[in-house]
């Protein structure tokens, strides 16, 4: 079984990650997911690819800490976080968060909290590659 927190070059499978979560416990009553995808358009410019890079060790430690915090804060049964690195083409997957809880409310809340905190705390950067050139992305609030 893959680790619950991963930074990886290759694509991931939503089905595989949900199955891994479900295999953890039959006490799960609700699973919420956030799947971040690469858009082909940003700030009115065509985007062909997005290149991700990370301070890997710190990013992995931050994501692991976030998972632990979310499990404790929302009373989750389990959570998984996968973020891709390297070049991601428009339309492909970037990040997946899967959380399992006894009830839907904490699953939804935890999923939203995790992606917001990931964006704020994980040392990962993205560069948009367009027909006009390349530029590092300034985060949206």
């Amino acid at each position: 079984m893959n680790d619950a927190v991963r930074l990886q070059l290759e694509d991931f499978s939503l089905d595989v990650e949900v199955a891994a979560l479900r295999a953890h416990s039959k006490r799960i009553g609700g699973i919420a997911t956030f799947l971040g995808c690469a858009r082909d358009f940003s700030e009115e410019i065509e985007v062909r690819e997005i290149a991700f890079e990370a301070y890997h060790d710190m990013a992995h430690a931050e994501l692991s800490a976030l998972r632990d915090e979310a499990i404790a804060r929302f009373g989750l049964i389990d959570a998984r976080i996968v973020h891709r690195l390297g070049t991601v083409r428009a339309g492909e997957n970037i990040v997946l968060i899967v959380v399992g809880a006894e009830h839907r409310a904490e699953a939804f809340d935890a999923c939203r909290w995790l992606i917001d905190e990931l964006k704020a705390r994980a040392p990962i950067w993205k560069k948009e590659i367009t027909p006009q050139g390349e530029s590092w992305v300034t985060p949206h609030p």
């Binding site: 301070y55 964006k119 994980a122 040392p123 990962i124 950067w125 993205k126 300034t138 985060p139």
Partner: protein
């Protein structure tokens, strides 16, 4: 030696991903920043997060660095 790493937009502005500096007793991360900021002012304009050995530090952290310390000067994150 002190090992300094740069990623993403900061690396683009410094033109390098790694710099090694000589270690001396009492050296603080702020001293390293001041030295490198003088060399690469355009890169340090966008530095907003600093980590020493994988842990975030702030201006209040003035402990001397250990020989072999790893310092990373980072811009605002944009993952996800």
């Amino acid at each position: 030696m002190i090992n300094v790493l740069f990623f993403g937009p900061v690396a683009e502005r410094t033109g390098s991903r790694q710099i090694s500096l000589d270690f001396r007793e009492g050296l603080r991360w702020q001293d390293v920043r001041d030295t490198l900021r003088a060399r690469h002012p355009e890169a340090f304009e966008i530095v907003s997060v600093v980590a020493v050995d994988g842990r975030r530090v702030g201006e209040q952290d003035t402990a001397p660095l250990a020989d072999g310390a790893e310092i990373v000067f980072m811009s605002t994150f944009s993952g996800g």
